[in-house]
């Protein structure tokens, strides 16, 4: 092995690294040739299934918050007591061994968006090039970053906090939340206890969090990131003084200039005369300083958790007849539609709950294929199913609850003006509420030669347009001016009904290797073949299942003497035993 050449570092590396990561051969077709096939190297992050998980963001190096300096004192400060914690830096339990980073495309370069503590300990930091990181740390776990997903997760967390802890919650940046806990801390046993509970809750959800409580949002932001603590009322100027100026949410440029001027901490900055500062840095720096100290108000823009939409009608006398229920539904539905229109929503799932006087609620659920607030359509769907309600001794309340809603803006009247295809959504709703949405589907083509896999089911509404694959400007395939071929092109005839599983044929008389059968017996009936087309050879999709690596099906279209046309196939190519056992199967009939 070392003949003549001596030791080459690349060769050994390739032997160790490449052997297990790549498939030994990547050949679709004939496997009998024993020649090794050159394998094109693949970057590890492309060969892997992309994982889209907001929690995959690695945790930043963040010490868990420790119990602060005693409970909050009586709050007489007029400014709000605020806290900021940077929660969305989640950790994955039990995965500390492999250093992990997330990568983000920035211009032409792939840079690190976030790095887990293990990766940081190895010297990787956000902002570095991923190629450099890969060179520094072999075996690095690199996942694509998902900034939108992270932001959505932070918003969900803000909703949770707004429902659970206090009414005014605002996301701050990409990694923090402001909670205005004025007047709510005592409900959770004081500020320190509340902070501990919040950290514990976030930990249960997989986030590492740091919490600080202070009088102003600016001070809470700075303390949460640089010195997590519970700052007693009025003490925040002293707490902020030793912190670096970066804790003031400054621009990087302003930070650099301050550094050059020798101003390192907030305390030093506060001691500088304000007028020269404002002249040099503009009003932003002064505003940030004032926001931190409380001289300038910083109102929060709270997230508003969506409220469930529902309407209720109670009756003095219980109702029991279908007519009465239909009447009251007709009264309730316009109210529900108005509520939906005010919220700018369209209903996707609506529950009708009829409270019976014996306390057994009757529920009906209607689903909608597309968000809608068309009262007449909704009413038609519900009234059709009134008979499913068992009124018992009577119903004393009817309620309509919107279980799922999607945004629905104003709709134009354009349908009546121009000639456009009619909307199928009402029909789909009607059918889906009768047989269930799973019994309605649309088939979409799949690029696969194996007949069973060439069709996939899709939701019945809004078929996605077949997007042409984007090609680069210098792609040679652009020279091909012919029409793109549909995966189901008629040049490869397919039967109109496919047997659920191919049926074995008996008494097949056929010449090897590639002649159609002369006669066969199927379901006890003997057929004599007079005409045939084929074979159409379909190879197993080795990249989907390892057992299909060698398998071959040879399909024939045959016609018997009675004029019946069939689609048969033989397992195996008739030459090599590993491709199949030469059994014949029926797979469908042509018309």
């Amino acid at each position: 092995m070392l003949r003549g050449g001596g030791w080459r570092p690349g060769a050994r590396w390739a032997r160790v690294e490449g052997a297990d990561a790549r498939p030994r051969d990547r050949r679709a077709g004939r496997v009998s040739e024993a020649a090794p096939h050159p394998v094109k190297a693949m970057p590890p992050d492309e060969g892997r299934t992309p994982v889209r998980d907001p929690r995959a963001t690695p945790p930043s190096a963040s010490p868990p918050w420790k119990g602060g300096a005693g409970g909050g004192s009586a709050d007489s400060s007029p400014s709000a007591r605020l806290r900021a914690d940077p929660p969305p830096t989640p950790s994955l339990p039990g995965r500390g061994a492999v250093p992990r980073i997330t990568s983000l495309q920035s211009g032409n370069a792939l840079i690190i968006a976030a790095a887990c503590p293990a990766a940081r300990a190895l010297g990787l930091a956000p902002g570095m090039a991923v190629t450099q990181a890969r060179a520094l740390v072999p075996g690095l776990d690199i996942r694509p970053a998902d900034p939108e997903g992270d932001r959505a997760a932070l918003l969900r967390l803000a909703m949770l906090a707004a429902r659970r802890w206090c009414p005014v919650v605002m996301p701050s940046g990409d990694d923090g939340l402001f909670l205005d806990i004025s007047g709510t801390a005592h409900l959770f046993g004081g500020e320190a206890r509340m902070a501990r509970r919040i950290v514990a809750l976030l930990k249960r959800h997989g986030f590492t969090a740091r919490v600080a409580v202070a009088d102003t949002p600016g001070a809470a932001w700075a303390l949460a990131r640089y010195a997590p603590q519970i700052c007693p009322p009025g003490a925040h100027p002293d707490a902020l003084a030793p912190l670096p100026t970066a804790a003031l949410r400054l621009e990087p440029r302003a930070r650099d200039v301050l550094k050059r001027l020798g101003i390192e901490t907030i305390g030093q900055l506060a001691a500088v005369p304000r007028a020269p500062l404002a002249r040099r840095f503009g009003s932003t720096l002064i505003a940030r300083l004032d926001q931190a100290s409380g001289r300038l108000a910083e109102p929060l823009d709270p997230v508003i958790p969506p409220e469930a939409i529902g309407v209720v009608q109670r009756f003095a006398e219980p109702i029991a007849t279908a007519e009465a229920i239909a009447h009251w539904l007709g009264v309730l539905m316009p109210r529900l539609v108005t509520a939906l229109a005010e919220a700018g929503l369209g209903a996707r799932v609506i529950d009708l709950v009829a409270d019976r006087i014996d306390g057994v609620p009757q529920r009906l659920r209607i689903g909608l294929a597309r968000p809608t607030r068309d009262g007449a359509h909704l009413l038609r769907l519900i009234v059709r199913r009134i008979e499913e309600i068992a009124p018992g001794y009577g119903i004393d309340a009817l309620a309509l609850h919107v279980r799922r809603a999607d945004p629905l803006g104003a709709e134009p009247f354009a349908e009546t003006l121009e000639d456009r295809p009619p909307d199928l959504a009402p029909l789909i709703d009607t059918l889906a509420n009768r047989i269930g949405i799973s019994a309605l589907w649309r088939s979409v083509p799949v690029e696969s030669d194996v007949p069973e896999r060439s069709v996939a089911a899709a939701p019945p509404l809004d078929p996605p347009p077949r997007a042409a694959p984007k090609s680069k400007p210098d792609d040679v395939r652009q020279l091909d001016r012919s029409r793109p071929l549909h995966p189901w092109d008629a040049r490869w005839p397919r039967p109109v009904r496919l047997l659920r599983r191919p049926e074995l044929l008996d008494h097949v008389l056929a010449e090897l290797p590639d002649q159609p059968p002369k006669r066969f017996t199927w379901r006890g009936m003997a057929h004599r073949v007079v005409r045939a087309d084929g074979p159409e050879r379909i190879l197993g999709e080795w990249w989907k299942r390892g057992t299909e690596r060698h398998s071959v099906r040879d399909y024939f279209q045959v016609e018997d003497d009675a004029g019946q046309r069939f689609w048969l196939f033989r397992r195996g190519d008739g030459e090599r035993g590993e491709t199949g056992d030469l059994a014949w199967f029926m797979h469908g009939s042509f018309g």
């Binding site: 295809p421 087309d533 009939s589």
Partner: protein, 265 residues
């Protein structure tokens, strides 16, 4: 009612009778000729059909000549071809999920136009078809039943009237011949406007020396139609746009004219 009110005068004059005829015509909608039809585009078939094609606003029944899978596939493709030539989206209500969408695509029915629904039994299937017909936004509604009694087909026909949605009902053969009529699905009385029986026939012969299957042929039999005579033809199967064709010899073409041999290549 209006007719009665106008005809009150004791002495009817020819002008009044003409007026009455005019208003009657308006009420009745001028017979069958004004209704929208879907022609096959083949003179030999269209001239035998009373309205000059398949009426769009009505129910048509199709059955395979036997329970053999080839005949069943031929009947299915015959329906798929008609649905493919209709104008809009198509609802196909099935009992079993055994349709193969590539086969339908090759009869001209693109997957973008086709919505499938699976019904648990025949009654539900007919109800779903009726919903589809009453929606008025579909080009065709196709259903596959084992049996549908006269009232069911009457309902479908009533639901179809007034719209532009063609209703196609495939009557499949029951497994055992327990049906009234000994296994012939068309023996049950029905309100359908036309009733067809389709069988697979030996394919178009290829030039001497060429091995292979030519374009498929069907034995198409118009068993009954309202206002017309039954008829039967041997047709060439649907092409990629859902159009049938007459075999070359019948259409006075020479054997080498090519159309029949498209599949020979």
């Amino acid at each position: 009612m209006r007719v009665v009110a106008v005809s009150c005068p004791a002495i009817p004059s020819s002008a009044i009778i003409a007026e009455l005829r005019e208003s009657l015509k308006k009420v009745e909608g001028d017979g069958l000729r004004r209704r929208p039809v879907l022609p096959f585009g083949i003179g030999a078939i269209d001239e035998k059909l009373a309205p000059g094609g398949l009426r769009l606003d009505s129910l048509h029944e199709i059955a395979a000549a036997s329970a053999a899978p080839s005949d069943d596939a031929a009947a299915t493709l015959f329906m798929a071809g008609i649905a493919a030539r209709a104008w809009g989206p198509v609802l196909w209500v099935v009992r079993r999920r055994d349709l193969f969408a590539p086969g339908l695509y090759q009869a001209g029915l693109a997957p973008e136009r086709l919505i499938y629904a699976e019904a648990a039994d025949d009654a539900e299937l007919l109800a779903l078809m009726e919903e589809g017909l009453r929606h008025r936004g579909l080009g065709a509604v196709v259903g596959e039943v084992k049996r549908a009694a006269m009232p069911n087909t009457r309902r479908l026909q009533l639901a179809a009237e007034g719209g532009k949605t063609i209703a196609l009902l495939l009557k499949r053969h029951a497994r055992a011949a327990t049906d009234k009529g000994g296994g012939n699905p068309l023996a049950v009385p029905s309100a359908a406007v036309t009733r067809w029986r389709i069988a697979a026939a030996p394919s178009a012969p290829l030039p001497v020396g060429a091995a292979g299957v030519g374009r498929a042929r069907w034995q198409v039999e118009l068993v009954r139609q309202r206002g017309g005579e039954p008829a039967d033809w041997t047709m060439e199967a649907c092409d990629e746009t859902g159009r049938l064709a007459l075999p070359a010899r019948l259409a006075d073409r020479t054997a080498g004219a090519g159309r029949a041999y498209r599949h020979a290549a």
